[in-house]
């Protein structure tokens, strides 16, 4: 289908907090309205209602992959349910064209008393495969899962890893035009995860429309070109995957939390990077501006702490401070701090944060942050730069050859 794809236009979805009404008195009027086709204006929120998704629009064309990221409860899974048709939007329109394949809850349909073989057929049918298709792909599915020897064992005797592997293998053999992926790449052992990821990458590159939800930001960065950052149902940022991932990782730093303290001795105003793109091994320079509050620099100020986080997992890969480097902040007044860093890091997205650190209380005052996209450098791949040196000398053969 040439025009397969997913299009969301100003989609809103209302949910109810707490228990749903389960008395006839509440339902009868609602039912009557629904049956007569006269639903109430779904615009307003009744008591206990909230918008699980509010005003989300996006368009995913074949050959494109959209990553959806955000904290728990941000509405990611709700969006996927709207795409698959499990839920209908309260307002707006969700248009999906093409056969949907969903890598969600890949073993939800398994029955513990049935064997792996029987469950392949059952789960496959639940995911929308025809029995003839499953018959044809059965061997490939079992081989992919790597549990050939246990295929005639009831699933209740499977380990949870085997269960997930079999489920994923079935889903991976769907032949979708629109692919939905929800957090299923972390199943099984290391080698299976690799295989699963390779399979997904293969699907993504096969000119179908893909929507993917994951907390594994490096997977999103690798597979998706565009992304959507959600927070409490709202679109916080929409654009390139790098931009959204960085915004997500930076979000905690950007949140104004001074821990209720008003005695901020140093205010940091800005962190400006000349360019957000660099290569592994490059040296970058940026400036941080700040002001030391009148009254002088208290002794408990460690100085300005600079932290570089990998956006893939949020982990700090490097941290230093003015105190550690031996730079003294002025006793009063505004300043401009120039920082140079050697990017001995692999390709990826990195967040750079500046903070003021209270050495006595182990507390920090939030500061500005920015992100940097590092491209693969020339002389290394891997996770650390080990500054290789190599020298070559010609050694004499230890034994002369038969002719020489």
């Amino acid at each position: 289908m040439a025009d397969a794809g997913v299009r969301f236009e100003n989609v809103w979805k209302k949910f109810h907090r707490g228990e749903m009404h389960d008395s006839l008195r509440d339902l009868v009027p609602a039912l009557a309205r629904r049956l007569t086709g006269r639903s109430p204006k779904p615009g307003d929120l009744a008591e206990g209602d909230f918008w699980a998704v509010s005003d989300v629009s996006f368009d995913v064309r074949p050959g494109h992959a959209l990553g959806i990221i955000g904290p728990n409860g941000a509405g990611k899974s709700t969006i996927l349910k709207l795409v698959t048709g499990i839920l209908r939007p309260t307002r707006g329109s969700c248009a999906v064209r093409g056969r949907i394949g969903a890598l969600i809850e890949v073993s939800a349909g398994f029955h513990p008393d049935l064997t792996g073989r029987e469950n392949v057929f059952l789960q496959g049918a639940i995911m929308g495969m025809a029995t003839a298709d499953i018959n044809r792909k059965f061997d490939a599915i079992v081989e992919f899962s790597g549990i050939e020897e246990f295929i005639d064992t009831p699933v209740k005797r499977y380990s949870s890893g085997m269960n997930a592997r079999l489920g994923f293998s079935i889903a991976a053999h769907l032949d979708p035009e629109v692919l939905i992926i929800d957090e299923v790449l972390a199943v099984g052992d290391f080698s299976f995860q690799q295989r699963a990821f390779d399979r997904v990458r293969e699907l993504v590159s096969s000119d179908i429309a893909v929507i993917m939800v994951s907390h594994q930001l490096d997977r999103i960065a690798e597979l998706c070109s565009e992304a959507l950052l959600l927070g409490q149902g709202r679109v916080m940022r929409q654009g390139s995957a790098a931009e959204c991932i960085a915004a997500y990782v930076l979000a905690p730093a950007a949140a104004p939390k001074a821990n209720g303290r008003s005695d901020i001795p140093v205010k940091l105003h800005s962190l400006s990077l000349p360019d957000v793109a660099a290569r592994s091994g490059d040296r970058i320079c940026f400036t941080i501006t700040g002001t030391v509050a009148p009254g002088g620099l208290p002794s408990w100020v460690e100085g300005v702490v600079i932290t570089v986080r990998s956006a893939q997992n949020g982990r700090a890969v490097f941290s230093t401070s003015t105190a550690r480097v031996g730079t003294q902040l002025p006793e009063e007044g505004s300043f401009e701090l120039t920082v140079g860093l050697q990017l001995n890091v692999p390709a990826g997205i990195y967040a750079i944060e500046a903070k003021v650190w209270d050495r006595e209380r182990g507390d920090s005052f939030p500061g500005p942050a920015s992100y940097l996209q590092v491209q693969a450098g020339v002389d290394f791949t891997g996770t650390v730069q080990m500054n290789p040196t190599m020298s070559l000398s010609r050694s004499l053969p230890s034994r002369p050859g038969p002719t020489g």
Binding site: D22, K81, L87, R97, I104, E105, H111, A125, T131
Partner: protein
Amino acid sequence: MPSEGLNPSDRPRLLRDLVEIGSDVWRSRDLLYQLARRDIRIRYKQAIMGLGWAVLMPLLIVSAGLLIRLAMATASGSTLPKGAIAGIMVKSLPWAFFVGAIGTSVTSLTANMNLVSKVYFPREVLPIGTTLAQSFDSLIGATAVTLILAFLGVQPTLALGWVPILALLLFLLTLATALFLSCANLFFRDVKYIVQVLLMFGIFFTPVLYEPAMLPPTAAKLAMLNPLAPLIEGLRLAVTQGHSLLEPLTQLTKHGVAVVWQPWYLAYSAVWAIAGLVASATLFHRLEFVFAEYV
């Protein structure tokens, strides 16, 4: 969703819904088959009795019926009429089917909660699947009953041609009830308890163990109001008495000549089955898209 043929919005809503339900179910026929197969496999895989399951329920009904009829005959100082055993045996099957199908399909949506809330497929397949699985049981039961009837000396007649028609109407009526109740139980979890009680006492309000002609004339007429009654009585008359259901049948009872069968009894049940199915399938289909939020 792609749709074929006419622009669907040109049709009246009810027709549009029915077409949608039909095409949804048709497209999910493989899923339906797999779900029914799952239910059958599970029932026969672990049960010690295996295939005996399908026969146990009708057997219990027959024994209970014989006991009651024997007690009634003793109390009135008469003997058990000749066709009584065969009659109860024939009627135990449709009742066992109805009870079994309704009992399992009431919870068919709630028992598959994680599927309903996480995977998309037409939800109709769940109650339809359990009803189909029960049909398989009843087919085994029917085979057993056929053998016993032959042993009891019941002669096959042309009226046996009514059996598939009655079976189809019973299936549709059961499906209508299953769709409605499974949907109701999703919204109100106590529906399954009410249904259990109704099914338990339903046997007294359905002419399974007795024949309506044993009741006073007014009560006999009221008994036939139960949409299941004409199907069950019709089955008995066709199988054990070789009666063509297009002909009325009268019988001499203590209260005088009683009308045992009228052809329109069948039409009455057929209307219930078909109108009921249209109504409950439409209701189910229209509420389907909120299932995931309520389950």
